[in-house]
C-alpha cells in the first residue's frame, strides 16, 4: 500500500491503512486525543462513532479486506451514510464549498460550470499544488482546463458565476494567445467546452491567423494549391498519426470492430502499420537503388527463360533480375546529366539506401513504442480491479447485437470471478495439489523446450544437407516447407500444454504462450542465420560461394513464400473446414475463436524475414506488401465466416504495446545486427554483386569517399568532417555521455514526481479522515446539545 499501488481507502478500516503505511500521521493522534469524549457516548450503542474509535484498539488484522469483516463493513458503510444525521448536520454538509459546485451545474445539463479558481499554467512546480485550498476539487488532477459556465439560470450566485465565467474566459483566451499555434490548437481541442464556446475562444485568441486566412482567400487561383497544402501540412503536423490519416480499409475495420471488439481490431491495425512500414522501405529502396539499376542494366546479364517453378523457388529467371543481389553491378553511372556532376555509384547507393532505411524505420518504431508506453503507464500490471472493470471494460466500438450480448456476458463473468476472489480469498491448496501443479508445469515446459530443441536441430541438419542439392528445383522448397510446418505445428503443441497447465489468470497464459512462440521463432531464425553467416559465407564450397548472397536471398524469399502459402492453407483448412466439420458432423454450435497472439507473432515473424533479407534481395519488401495485402482480405473474410468473438477479456492497449515492443526488440534489432555484421565483417564474393573484389561492403563507401573528394568542394568538406568525427573517439564519447546524463536526469525527475504523488495521495487520505471526523464530531455535539431531538432521530 505504501508504494502507492492500489489505494483503497476503506472507511472503517482506516486505522488498518495507517498501520500498513507504517507512519502515524497527525490525524491518528487526533483520534487518540478525542478518544475520551467518544467513550462518554458508549451509552448509545447505535452511534457508530464509538465503533469507529474502539476499532482502533481492537484491530489486529492488517490486511485490508477479509471475509470475516465483510458483513460488518457492509453495515458500517451503510450507517455512515446520512440516515442517522440530524437536519442541522445535513444542512452544514450540503453547504460545504465542494458540494456547492454541484448546484450550479445541475441546471439540467452536464457539467459546464465549476467555481474553480483559475489555475496557473501546468508548468508550475508540483510544490505549489500542495497549497491549493481544498475547496477546489478537480485541481490537482486537471490543471490544464477551466470551465466556463454558460447557462446559470435561476441561481443565487448566478451573477458571480457569470462574472467568474467572464474572467475564466479571458484567462483562457490569454493563455492560448501566449503559446505557439500548434500548442494552442492542441490545448483548444482538449478543452471540455462545447464547440460553440471553443469557436468563440478561437476567434479571440487566434484572430491574427483568422485574418491571414481571409487574406489568403483573396489571393488568385494559382496560390490555391499552396493554401491547401499549407492547411493540410498544418493539420498533419498537429495530428502525427500518418497511418490513420491515410484511412486505408477504414470501413472494413469498422465492421470488424463492430462485431469482434477492440482485441481483434488491434491485429488488423498492426497489420496496417506493418504495411505502411514496408511501403516506406520499398519506396526508398526503389527510388534510390532499383530504379537506377533498372535504367542502366549491367553489361554481363543473360536472361534465363521464365518458369513458374522459378517464381516459387527464386532461382532461374528471378535470380538474374532486380530481385536479388547478384544482379546489381558495381558500375558507376555517369551518363545522365545529373550524374555527370556527381557520379552515382551503385555499390555505395546500395549500402547507403539499406542503412538509411533501417535508420528511419528504427526511429519510427522507437517513436511509436514510446507513445504506446506513454498511453499504458503500467504495462505489467495485473488484471485490474473491480472499479476499472465496471467503468473501463465496456467496448463502445461493438455494435452488433449478438456481440453486445457476448460482451455483457463476458463482463458479468469477469465481475463474478472478481467478487468471488475478493470474498473468499485464496483457495487453500493442499501440499499434494501444489506438488501436482508443479509437476504439470515442469512437464509442460519440458515438452515445449524439447520440441523447440528438436525442431531447431532438424532444421540445422536439413540445411547442411540442402547445400548439396543445389540444382533440384522443388527440393529447394523442402526446407522452407519444413520451417513453416514447424511454425504451424508447434504452437498447437504449446496450446495443448497451456490447456494442460490451467493457469490462474488469463494474462499469465497469454504471456507464457507468447514467450514460447517467440522462443521457437528465435531459435529457428537463429539457427538459420548461424548457418548462413557462419558456414556459407565463410566456407569455400565451390557451388555456393560463387554467389552466396544470392543463395541466402533466395532462401529468405522461399521462406517468406512458404510462410504465406502455409498461412493460406491453415486459414482454409484450419478455420473453414473445421467450422463446417464441427457444425455438420459434430453438430456443435461453437465456432473457433481467433487467436490474436499467435497471428500477431506470425506477422512479426514474416516482418523479421523481410528485414533480414532486404540486404540480399532489395525487392523483398514488395513481396511482403503484396503478402500483407492479400492476408488482410483473407483473414477478414475468414473471420467473418468462421470465427466468433472471444469470451476471454483482452487488454488491447496493453497487448499492442507488447507487440510493438516485440517488433522492435527481437525482430528489428536482430535483423539490424545481422545486416550490420554482414556489411562490416563478411567478405563479399568475387564474382557477383556490386561488391566484388572488396574486402567488405563498407569499403565501397570509403573508396567512393576518396573519389568524391576530388569532385566537389562541399562533399569533400563533409567527408573530411565525417572522418574526423568517426576517427576521433572523443566525438563519440561526448554525445553519448550527454545523452546518458539527460536520461539520468529525467529518471530522477520522474522519481521525484512519483514521490510527490504519493505524498499528495496521503494528504487526500488524511483530509478525508479529517472530514469524517469533523462530521461525526459535529453530529455528536449537536446531539449533546439537543438530547430530545436526538431521541427522535435515533428511532429511525
Amino acid at each position: 500500500m505504501a508504494n502507492g499501488g492500489n489505494f483503497s481507502v476503506n472507511i472503517c478500516e482506516e486505522d488498518h491503512d495507517y498501520e500498513n503505511l507504517g507512519e502515524s500521521g497527525p490525524s491518528r493522534d487526533s483520534f487518540q486525543v478525542f478518544k475520551e469524549p467518544a467513550c462518554n457516548v458508549r451509552g448509545n450503542p447505535e452511534d457508530i462513532q464509538m465503533e469507529m474509535f474502539t476499532k482502533n484498539s481492537d484491530t489486529s488484522d492488517s490486511e485490508s479486506t477479509s471475509s470475516s469483516k465483510e458483513s460488518s463493513n457492509v453495515y458500517r458503510v451503510r450507517s455512515l451514510q446520512r440516515n442517522n444525521w440530524s437536519a442541522a448536520t445535513r444542512r452544514v454538509l450540503s453547504s460545504m464549498p465542494s458540494r456547492k459546485t454541484g448546484l450550479h451545474s445541475s441546471a439540467g445539463m452536464a457539467v459546464r460550470a465549476r467555481q474553480t479558481c483559475a489555475l496557473p499554467k501546468h508548468q508550475t512546480s508540483s510544490c505549489d499544488s500542495l497549497h491549493i485550498p481544498r475547496a477546489t476539487q478537480a485541481d490537482i488532477t486537471s490543471p490544464e482546463f477551466e470551465e466556463i459556465s454558460t447557462e446559470d439560470e435561476g441561481n443565487n450566485l448566478a451573477d458571480s458565476g457569470l462574472w467568474c465565467a467572464e474572467t475564466n474566459k479571458q484567462q483562457l483566451v490569454s493563455d492560448l494567445r501566449g503559446v505557439s499555434e500548434g500548442e494552442g490548437m492542441r490545448k483548444l481541442r482538449a478543452m471540455p467546452l462545447s464547440l460553440a464556446d471553443k469557436m468563440e475562444i478561437r476567434k479571440h485568441s487566434f484572430s491574427p491567423l483568422a485574418k491571414n486566412s481571409v487574406i489568403n482567400r483573396n489571393v488568385p487561383c494559382h496560390n490555391l494549391p499552396c493554401m491547401y497544402l499549407s492547411r493540410m501540412w498544418r493539420h498533419c503536423r498537429y495530428t502525427p498519426r500518418f497511418s490513420t490519416s491515410l484511412k486505408l480499409w477504414h470501413s472494413s475495420m469498422k465492421k470488424l470492430s463492430g462485431r469482434y471488439g477492440t482485441g481483434v481490431l488491434s491485429y488488423f491495425t498492426f497489420l496496417r502499420t506493418l504495411l505502411f512500414i514496408n511501403l516506406l522501405f520499398f519506396i526508398i529502396t526503389f527510388l534510390f537503388l532499383v530504379l537506377p539499376q533498372a535504367i542502366h542494366p549491367p553489361p554481363d546479364s543473360h536472361r534465363v527463360s521464365f518458369s513458374w517453378i522459378g517464381l516459387l523457388t527464386g532461382i532461374g529467371y528471378l535470380s538474374q533480375s532486380l530481385m536479388f543481389y547478384g544482379y546489381y553491378s558495381n558500375i558507376t553511372i555517369k551518363t545522365t546529366s545529373i550524374t555527370s556532376v556527381v557520379p552515382y555509384c551503385i555499390p555505395t547507393a546500395y549500402v547507403f539506401t539499406i542503412t538509411m532505411s533501417f535508420f528511419i524505420i528504427c526511429i519510427i518504431l522507437v517513436y511509436s513504442m514510446s507513445k504506446s508506453f506513454g498511453k499504458s503507464f503500467q504495462v505489467f500490471k495485473s488484471d485490474g480491479n473491480l472499479s476499472e472493470n465496471v467503468f473501463c471494460s465496456w467496448d463502445f466500438k461493438v455494435t452488433k447485437k449478438p456481440s453486445i450480448r457476448l460482451q455483457s456476458e463476458k463482463i458479468s463473468t469477469r465481475l463474478k470471478e472478481q467478487l468471488s476472489e475478493l470474498t473468499s480469498g485464496e483457495e487453500e491448496r493442499t501440499l499434494v495439489q501444489l506438488f501436482r501443479n508443479f509437476l504439470v508445469h515442469v512437464a509442460a515446459w519440458f515438452i515445449c523446450l524439447a520440441s523447440i530443441f528438436f525442431s531447431a536441430l532438424g532444421i540445422y541438419l536439413l540445411s547442411k544437407k540442402a547445400i548439396s542439392k543445389m540444382h533440384q528445383n522443388l527440393d529447394l522448397l523442402f526446407m522452407a516447407a519444413v520451417v513453416s510446418g514447424f511454425n504451424l505445428l508447434l504452437p498447437g503443441i504449446f496450446n495443448f500444454c497451456a490447456w494442460m497447465e490451467k493457469h490462474n489468470s488469463p494474462s499469465t497464459r497469454i504471456y507464457v504462450s507468447i514467450f514460447r512462440n517467440l522462443l521457437l521463432k528465435i531459435c529457428i531464425i537463429g539457427v538459420l542465420c548461424y548457418h548462413w553467416l557462419g558456414k556459407i559465407a565463410v566456407e569455400q564450397d565451390p557451388q555456393v560461394s560463387k554467389c552466396w548472397e544470392n543463395f541466402v536471398g533466395q532462401e529468405l524469399y522461399r521462406l517468406l513464400l512458404m510462410d504465406f502459402i502455409f498461412t493460406v492453407l491453415y486459414t482454409f483448412l484450419g478455420e473453414f473446414v473445421w467450422r463446417i466439420f464441427s457444425q455438420k458432423i459434430l453438430r456443435k454450435n461453437r465456432k473457433p475463436v481467433f487467436d490474436i497472439a499467435r497471428n500477431v507473432l506470425e506477422l512479426v515473424y514474416g516482418q523479421t524475414l523481410t528485414w533480414l533479407g532486404v540486404l540480399f534481395a532489395p525487392l523483398l519488401p514488395a513481396v511482403q506488401i503484396v503478402k500483407l495485402f492479400v492476408l488482410f482480405y483473407m483473414k477478414k473474410n475468414s473471420l467473418m465466416l468462421n470465427c466468433q468473438a472471444s469470451k476471454k477479456p483482452w487488454r488491447a492497449t496493453h497487448m499492442t504495446t507488447v507487440f510493438i515492443t516485440l517488433l522492435f526488440f527481437p525482430s528489428f534489432l536482430g535483423a539490424a545486427v545481422f545486416v550490420a555484421y554482414t556489411v562490416w565483417i563478411i567478405k563479399p564474393p568475387s564474382e557477383c554483386g556490386p561488391f566484388r573484389n572488396l574486402t567488405n561492403m563498407l569499403e565501397s563507401v570509403k573508396l567512393w569517399a576518396e573519389r568524391m573528394k576530388d569532385y566537389h568542394q562541399i562533399l569533400s568538406w563533409l567527408i573530411r568532417a565525417y572522418n574526423a568525427f568517426t576517427d576521433n573517439p572523443l566525438f563519440l564519447f561526448l554525445p553519448s555521455g550527454v545523452f546518458l546524463l539527460v536520461i539520468y536526469f529525467r529518471i530522477q525527475v520522474v522519481d521525484g514526481q512519483r514521490r510527490i504523488i504519493r505524498r499528495l495521495e496521503k494528504q487526500i487520505d488524511d483530509e478525508g479522515k479529517d472530514k469524517k471526523f469533523l462530521i461525526t464530531q459535529l453530529q455528536y455535539l449537536y446531539e449533546e446539545n439537543n438530547p430530545n431531538s436526538s431521541h427522535r432521530h435515533r428511532g429511525r
Binding site: V111, S142, C392, F396, S412, K771
Partner: protein
C-alpha cells in the same frame, strides 16, 4: 479536394478542423450522416448557421449507437439542454470526443458525465448500480450488484465520502490503460 462544396464556408471548416479532431473530409461526412437522420429537417446549407436540433430518438437510432446501453446518457451529456436534442455542433463535438485522437483527460471528463445519471457531479451508489445493470443486462443478482458497487466505491474513493468525485474517477481511469481504446466510437 475541390472547393465545390457549399455546405460550409471555408472559415467554418477551418474552425471545425481547429476545434475538433476531425479533418475537413470527415466533417463533411459527419454532416451527411447528420442529414441522413432527418433529411427534411436538416438543411444542406450551413453557411448561415441554422438553428436545427435533432431529437434524442433520431440520434440514438444511428447504427453506431443503437445497441449501446449508454446511448441515451451519451447523447444527453453532449446536449446543451440536457434532454438529448443535438445541434450539428454538438453532434460533431460528441464524435470528436469519442474519436481515437481525443486525449485521455477529455474522455475521462465526458465519461464521468455519462455515468453520472442524476447529474450531481458525483458518482454515487445509485449511479453505479444503474451503470452496472446496463453493463450486465440483469445477469447479476441484486445482492451481487450491491456488493460490486460497494467494492468499486471503496476501491476508488479517495476522500472517503462513499461516492466518487471527478478526482477519484480520473485517478482510477489513469490506472486503466484500456480506457482509451474502449471509450472510442468509429464514425
Amino acid at each position: 479536394m475541390g472547393n465545390k462544396q457549399t455546405i460550409f464556408t471555408d472559415e467554418q471548416l477551418d474552425a471545425y478542423q481547429d476545434c475538433t479532431f476531425f479533418t475537413r473530409k470527415e466533417i463533411l461526412r459527419l454532416h451527411s450522416r447528420y442529414h441522413e437522420l432527418a433529411p427534411h429537417l436538416v438543411p444542406m446549407d450551413y453557411t448561415n448557421e441554422p438553428d436545427c436540433k435533432l431529437p434524442l430518438a433520431l440520434i440514438v437510432d444511428m447504427p453506431e449507437l443503437k445497441e449501446n446501453p449508454f446511448r441515451n446518457r451519451i447523447v444527453e451529456s453532449f446536449s446543451e439542454d440536457g434532454m438529448g436534442n443535438l445541434s450539428f455542433n454538438e453532434f460533431v463535438d460528441m464524435f470528436s470526443v469519442l474519436s481515437e485522437m481525443a486525449p485521455r483527460e477529455l474522455k475521462a471528463i465526458y465519461a464521468f458525465k455519462i455515468y453520472d445519471y442524476n447529474v450531481d457531479n458525483y458518482l454515487c451508489k445509485e449511479d453505479l448500480e444503474k451503470t452496472l445493470n446496463k453493463l450486465t443486462k440483469e445477469e447479476l443478482t441484486p445482492e451481487e450488484v450491491e456488493l460490486v458497487c460497494e467494492k468499486a466505491i471503496e476501491e476508488a474513493d479517495l476522500d472517503g465520502d462513499s461516492k466518487l468525485s471527478y478526482a477519484d474517477f480520473e485517478n482510477m481511469i489513469t490506472r486503466a490503460p484500456d480506457f482509451l481504446s474502449t471509450f472510442h466510437i468509429r464514425i
